[in-house]
Subunit: 246 residues, 2 copies
Amino acid sequence: MDTIELLNQHRSQRTFSAKPINNELLSQLITTAQHAASSIFLQAYSFISITDPVLRQQIAAVTTMPFVQQNGHLLIVVADQHRNATLAQQQGLDPQLLSAADRFLASVEDATLATQNLVTAAESRGLGTVFLGSALNDAAKVIELLHLPKLTMPLFGLLIGYPDGENELKPRLPEAAVHFTNGYQEPTTYTAALTDYQQTLQQYYQARSHNARHADFDQVIRGALTSKHPRRELLTILHQQGFLNE
Amino acid sequence: MDTIELLNQHRSQRTFSAKPINNELLSQLITTAQHAASSIFLQAYSFISITDPVLRQQIAAVTTMPFVQQNGHLLIVVADQHRNATLAQQQGLDPQLLSAADRFLASVEDATLATQNLVTAAESRGLGTVFLGSALNDAAKVIELLHLPKLTMPLFGLLIGYPDGENELKPRLPEAAVHFTNGYQEPTTYTAALTDYQQTLQQYYQARSHNARHADFDQVIRGALTSKHPRRELLTILHQQGFLNE
């Protein structure tokens, strides 16, 4: 399949067959992830494969998502300046600058670029994936379970596996809402496009085969603001992990 | 070309021919970017195309990179919860939670996932790209130039264009350094793999056709810690933009 066509067909896959991903394929996916760009080449991320069934259940409990207990390979994606700080200290350098906001942002971006490559590579091999932001519902617990040292931060989980069932494609915001020229555009400048989108998204939510409901983009935002897991502790945890401590 | 092969061939492209990207192709790349996953579907990012030559020179000056003044289409990638906050207010909701660390991280991740899709789509059409972290050398200036409102933050620039010349592929860290099982691994557990990597990277730096020099991964880290642009003001700017203000 053409690469753009493949990317345009992306949807979250939450249910997987029991067929495991073999180690060779997993390794190939990690290699491809690593080929993404990286800020000043610090490659400031790590992937942690969860293969221990007890650990898997503990992380699934953090996510509160029943499907995380089921099939699929579970990765936890980590922003990681700890490796670079350790290597800095080994050559007698003060790693302090790696804890600044700039390097924290870069590590989040490095990790995320690599993960998107991994997702694309997986989908090109017929696998499906779902991001688990819910791995941060109890970030302190994940840090403890995975022995994550200072200057690391878990960002999200990723489940990868052979799809069982298929979801409909979810319509994205109109280009007018996310692509501007020479400066920022306020939503008031593209209200017509947004109104159309509300209708398109409403039709999607009503017609989809799983969890059909009455909703639109307003509802998506309302959901975010009334989340059961607002994760207000994350800034404190970032500080505890040594980040953003200028 | 096979998608994994394409991703594994990625390298930064800093010099472009004068051939412009037509608007239809650019629009196609943005659409594909938008198909990336997004945290709780908030799609919390925006792309800003820089087509005004004066603005382009002002941003090039921030980056201090002469090639930014030359060919290629320039995008600034923005973490954006402002759109969602505005839509929240329109339905009478308090958008405060969108300013928390959790939603800031999600917006950085949304923006970065979308950008990696854009890069992959571009490369599949024979285009090259380079990330410009240097757009944050003076983030306050970029915010002013692009009229970026509260709850937005520029993350990086991206240059896209038809390649003029080609770079060698840069060797990545060994998998042992970035992929662990069931818990974090300290660098002391994979020193042999790191030593090999230092040699591999040294050979790459010595043999490459542009800017060949004596360097290895220790040198990469040393460079990060002695940067001329440590960007220590970024945390303050993030607060000013309304983020991380729990």
